[in-house]
Amino acid sequence: MNSLRRSATIPRPLPGTPPVPVVPAPSRFTLENGLRVVALARSDLPQVAARLVLPAGSAVDPADAPGTACLVGSLLTEGTQELSAIELNERIDNLGASLGARASHDFAEVDLRLLAETLEEGLDLLASVVVTPSFPSREVERLRAESLDALEARLDEPANIADDHVDEAVFGPGHPYGRLPIGTLDGVRRLRRDTMVEFHRARYRPEGSVLVIVGDFDVDRMRRRLESAFQGWAGLADRIEYPSIPSELNSPERSVFVESEESGQSELRIAGLGLPRSSPDWIPAAVANYILGGSTITGRLGANLREDKGWTYGVRSGFSAGVHPGGWVVETAVGAEVTARALDEIEAELRRMVEEPISEEELARASEALILSLPRAFETPGRTVSRLATVEAYGLDPDYWERFPQRVHQVTVDDVARIAAECFAPERLVRVTVGPRSPVGS
């Protein structure tokens, strides 16, 4: 039977000359009220994607009111001065749009997705939810109750429990990155409508915010519509003061174990401190991380734990973007019976990154993968918005993506060793295990 299936061997074709990655150049302008706009017209599909980024993340939650930024974001689409919650949502839904806000640690992001046919009405709706939300008491109470349920439900997932312990262990509860943007049960219970209204007044301002918009439109006409939609909105958001990074970050290695008695797997996290998104080392760090665990299957961690041992469905590592140094984490779920051995293998891979130089071959493969996949990162309006928003939100150079290939090419074996020593050294990292048994002593 096999012989029936034998076919001639064709030699593997060698790839030709790679296309030079071309990154689209958007236009940048500022509305009369100070709102910066980054716009890119493309007419391949009748679709528009937009994101408004405001310095209104959970890092600026009032100390006694964790969860404010998130709840304010959710309430934007729960009624405006002119429209009740249900009228507003009927408008959005009847346009076939999606419009919603969420808060991360650093920013609030309002995302809009539209059919090109409905662009102008859509921009008007975007402006009205951002500028004149009415925070109706009934909707405040309903969303408060929903948030409390969501806070409870998320702890049903062992992976969430692990993530929460990582943030707290790396940053400490005193740092905004050590707390969940969604807040705490106590905080959300006590949160007052007045606090939300004041948060919106102070932080949702055109100066200091940026709108990124990509899709099927005429830039001049779209700009005129923005001017009229956002007229009447004015002012500058207060600067965010971040507390300094707590000193215990450099303390010796620690382990946290949380029992999850019926799980068949252990959720594992090995985590530490990373870099600010704007760091000149971000690109070398991305290369170093790619080699270790940025790619689930070909990264060293995946090749070892999944492809060689079969202990997990996946293992990856990654840096979190932040205005301040974010976290860096290795994450996986492994069969409970191999928990301790998996931790040992991960640690061995970390040590290998720190103690032995990577090969030029590995460096070239990682660099090519990052550079040549760039056109895909700009393929759709949604992905393009996301890439351009990163540049604006973290204050990167306007030509960041144009220069990205060149900067990746400049990364050396020594750069990777330096990043590995700073970020991957096991003695600087926290280990979190959520599973049926503690790995310690086994």
Binding site: Q47, N94, E262, Q265, I297, G310, Y313, A364, R383
Partner: protein, 430 residues
């Protein structure tokens, strides 16, 4: 056309090689990338009782190297040219795809040739043991250890008779995965991984001239399958109206309702899809508005419609707020369905639902990877990639009367399956 939508077009050319491989080329020069997509008309529906999970386990094995491409090289070669690749298994089909910069299309085609023509010589026990373990871990991570993670498996067992191939899960039962042998993998591969059971789609920065020539060069000499493939025609039998209650380590009750409905590609399927958007996509949709906003009974309420071949599967999933019982939720969902079936829906609601469906279609057509998959899927399940364009444009013609009738005919009454998940101790998984 009340929703005033532009007509969507997805120009492509098709050809069939002498060994039965169907080839579709969709040219779009807007970015220097090409999606190479191979879809085999085999999924978990083609498994037998006692060997569930075979199609998916085999998909894992097919990433482990081939006669001329040792383990690991597959990914490394693609990585080196900035390509990505993946595969997936579902009820009716298994797919493998690469997205590569335009200079590396032939590399991707060569790798797929290796997968179709040069796999059996490298298949061995060690490879099987490792991937068996990976898949059992996948089952734990994605299903068993997840809150509510076993609900869909149970739901399909209740919805379909035990011998219906949609009644078992694509991931497979653990005992079946443990029992799988090399011979099982070889048999399935020999029967289904052949040019006459596959569709190749090239989408992006490539024209039909080069596309068809390359298809011939890399696949033209591969033989048809020597094995007969059974044609499965189970239709969409009505469910027995059963309800099953599960306990799980969760904080809130959740109710899953499902109906077996007409398959993908039919007029009725499109009407049901519009109904699905009208019921639960967007905060003013019927279920979300009634259950979440007005009655404050639910945290979330979603609908879905599987684009499956033997039968479509329509589902509604609703999670209770604290203090709300599963029965209250079930009654509230039923009342909404009755209102739609008895009282009908408005023009504005249908227009909004059609537009939201279009929004999601545009999202998936915006990248060549998904566009290639959609074309491959239409070709595999509907027999013609051109049916996709028809289907996408059919939405704009759906009327309120059709939506109401679809709700009345397919979702009213007792012919459904229901799983209720309650907070408690998780039962043993098997």
């Amino acid at each position: 056309m009340h929703s005033k939508l532009k007509r969507l077009s997805l120009a492509h050319e098709t050809a069939e090689l002498s060994n039965g491989l169907r080839v579709v080329v969709h040219e779009d020069r807007s970015a220097p990338i090409v999606a190479v997509h191979l879809m085999y008309h085999a999924g978990s529906k083609d498994e037998r009782i006692g060997r569930t999970g075979l199609a998916h386990l085999l998909e894992h094995l097919l990433f482990e190297g081939s006669e001329n491409c040792p383990k690991g090289d597959f990914d490394r070669l693609l990585e080196r040219v900035g390509g990505s690749n993946n595969g997936s298994t579902w009820l009716d089909r298994t797919n493998y795809y690469e997205v590569v910069p335009s200079h590396a299309v032939e590399l991707a085609l060569w790798l797929e040739r290796e997968r179709m023509g040069h796999f059996l010589p490298v298949l061995d026990e060690e490879m099987l043991e490792i991937q068996r373990s990976v898949v059992i871990n996948e089952r734990k991570q994605v299903y068993e250890d997840r809150p509510y993670g076993m609900a869909y498996e149970r739901l399909h067992e209740v919805l379909f008779p035990v011998d219906h191939p949609y009644s078992w899960p694509t991931i497979g039962y653990t005992s079946d995965l443990e029992a799988m042998t090399l011979e099982d993998a070889r048999d399935f591969y020999t029967r289904y991984y052949a040019p006459d059971n596959a569709v190749l789609v090239l989408a992006g920065d490539v024209g039909p001239g080069a596309g068809f020539e390359w298809a011939e060069r890399y696949f033209g000499d591969l033989p048809r399958s020597p094995e007969e493939r059974a044609v499965i025609r189970n239709g969409h039998p009505a469910a027995a109206g059963r309800t099953l209650v599960l306990e799980d380590r969760v904080s809130f009750p959740r109710v899953y309702d499902a109906w077996s409905v007409p398959p993908y590609g039919t007029d009725e399927w499109v009407q049901l899809d519009v109904l699905s958007y009208l019921l639960a996509d967007g905060e003013s949709s019927r279920l979300q508005r009634t259950l979440i906003r007005e009655a404050e009974l639910a945290q979330d309420s979603d609908t879905y419609l599987y684009p499956t071949e033997l039968a479509g599967i329509f589902g509604i999933v609703t999670t209770a707020r604290s203090g709300v019982s599963a029965d209250q939720l079930r009654h509230a969902v039923d009342r909404v369905l009755e209102q739609v079936a008895d009282g009908g829906v408005t023009d504005a609601e249908v227009t909004g639902a059609i537009r939201r469906a279009r929004r999601d279609q545009l999202n998936s057509l915006a990248n060549v990877e998904d566009r290639a998959e959609e074309l491959a899927y239409a070709s595999t399940v509907l027999g013609d990639a051109g049916r996709l364009e028809w289907l996408l444009n059919r939405y704009a013609e759906v009327t309120p009367a059709e939506v109401r009738e679809a709700a009345g005919r397919h979702l009213a009454g007792e012919a459904r399956a229901t799983i209720v998940v309650l907070p408690g101790e998780e039962a043993d998984d098997e």
